[in-house]
């Protein structure tokens, strides 16, 4: 056995925890969808209302969720290591762009995006990131100049 396989999957009452989580999420999603669809008009069988199709899907989904839970009893799935630092940095990086693009323009948004993204890597490389950010700023400038009217992005705040 390789070291990878030797990791024992975590179990709750005989169910593989990962598969249990996946199945439960699917099950709950199905129930929510079916319940929500009850609030829409049903119509008749001849003139099917907006409720029928989602309700069917919700019920099927809930059933599939149960199947996944039971299928997962024998699963050997093991939770992989989660790169929390990268996830946080990348979400922050994307969110900063969204936050800044309308308020501060593309240049500021790009610098925020690139430097926050750089935090995801274990070694922080300020010079590389600076060069990347400058290149992307040049790219956006060319894009906005070249496609006037098609690409409408403010380069500077309040422009």
């Amino acid at each position: 056995m390789t070291p990878e396989e030797e990791r024992v999957p975590h179990r709750i009452a005989g169910f593989n925890t990962l598969e249990l989580a996946a199945g439960l999420i699917i099950l709950v999603l199905g129930v929510i969808v079916a319940a929500e669809s009850l609030t829409y008009p049903f119509g008749t069988l001849r003139n099917v209302g907006p409720a029928i199709f989602p309700m069917l899907l919700g019920i099927i989904l809930a059933a599939l969720g149960l199947t996944i839970i039971f299928e997962g009893r024998v699963s050997l799935a093991v939770a992989p290591a989660v790169p929390w630092r990268a996830i946080l940095a990348i979400c922050a990086s994307l969110a900063s762009f969204a936050l800044l693009i309308d308020r501060a323009g593309a240049y500021v948004a790009i610098f925020a995006l690139i430097f926050l993204a750089g935090l995801a890597d274990r070694t922080f490389r300020p010079v590389t990131l600076l060069i990347v950010a400058f290149c992307l700023c040049a790219f956006v400038t060319a894009l906005v100049m070249g496609f006037r009217g098609i690409v409408n992005i403010d380069l500077l705040p309040g422009a």
């Binding site: 989580a21 024998v74 290591a81 490389r125």
Partner: protein, 505 residues
Amino acid sequence: MDLLDNMILGFSVAISWSSLWACFIGVTLGTFIGVLPGVGALAGISLLMPLTFGQSATDAIVMLAGIYYGSIYGGSTAAILLNLPGSVTSAVTCFDGYPMAQKGQAGKALAMTTLASFIGGCFAIVLMMAFAPPLVAVAQSFGSPEYFAMTVLGLLAASTLSQGSPVKGIAMVVVGLILGLVGTDIQSGVARFTFGSREMLDGISLVVLAMGLFGVSEVLINFTSTLFATSRQTVDTSWKAMWPTGAEWKATSGSMARGSVLGSIIGILPGAGAAIAAFISYSVEKRMSRTPERFGKGAIEGLAAAETANNAAAQAAFIPTMSLGIPGSATMALLLGALLIHGVQPGPLVIQTDPDLFWGLIASFWIGNLLLLILNLPMIGIWVRMLLIPYHILYPCILFFICLGAYSARNNPIDIYLVIVFGLMGYGMKLLQLPAAPLLLGLVLGPMAEEHFRRSLLLARGDATVFLTQPISAGLLATAAIIVATTVWSSLRKRRRALSDAPVQ
């Protein structure tokens, strides 16, 4: 001759400057994406889709298709030089390509894959030219019940044939179908699953979902893999070292012929796709070979078989997508989604309503494959150098292009926040081993499936047995039922076997 007229029409479209340009940009970007490890065709197409919004529908689909088959050409480069498949479809290329590179035959392996790709691609295009029109003729006699049944079968086949648990695949298709329902119901005007949000009335944007699911989550996943370590290899790119010798042509011609046929057949089937085509074709070659022990140690036949098959499959996948409007894979679903965005309703009617688009696309395949041959043979050295771009420079750029694409579609920052949400969802799905591709298929086909479902019942005056009394729809649904039954049966059997093994552990 009909076909000749059609091809003349097609080439007159494909040779126009705008289409040539779209095709060139498409295959070049595609090769680039394919070469870069850690950026797959799906992520690439979702990233680049906003680029096509300003173009005509024909140019847009020509370009996106070019990105797709271009990425499959390019994927083999990283596979051969780094033993890292640039895209999933070239995983099999690693088996013999990397050993060849280690023996100093990297140039030859690269040239062989390009030639094999070209041959496989061409075979599948001929097949498409021959088979699309009759397939369309059959599909045009279909009514709503048949369409509904065909969609169900297509979705089930696509989700159960892929890797991993088929039950999870089906569940993800259903999730996709539900996501496709979000927004205003066209027939009744009722807002569904918007939970009071005005932003959701238009439904979930395909571009935003795809960028999150395949772009952001792929970047996150790559942080756990070994992508940060790149190795360097020198490649002899002189013509003499690269061009296959007579003996090599002789050794590979049979494998390439079989790879083309197998790849095309597998490519037409929903769900199987280019990666599986390459794998099956490789194992067939290995079994047929008189020297199977050479496979995996740099057998040029294995390389040729895998590469012809994956490119034939990639090209053949367009047959059901373009003639029936039923995509067999997530990439094809994205292309269909792009057509929808451009106001073209995909399906058998496309060949009549937009013949220039249909035949123009096929003609562009010829041009694209030829361009790829030129791009990949004399210019292979440039692509090899691309491999040296370290991932720590690449991923901030990928994130930037995701933001740019998501934002520029509507100039609304909320789309970027949605990308983050879908990105986290995609990563969570990866952790729970829930496949993302079926979800996208469901999202694209959801509205169509519901419409045909409701229309069938309306036309049958509320008789729900209509799906079973029409012979074609009954046959299609019966096939779907068989797929579900075998899936359940094999999963139960697997469980019993695993349970009986349990005490031994």
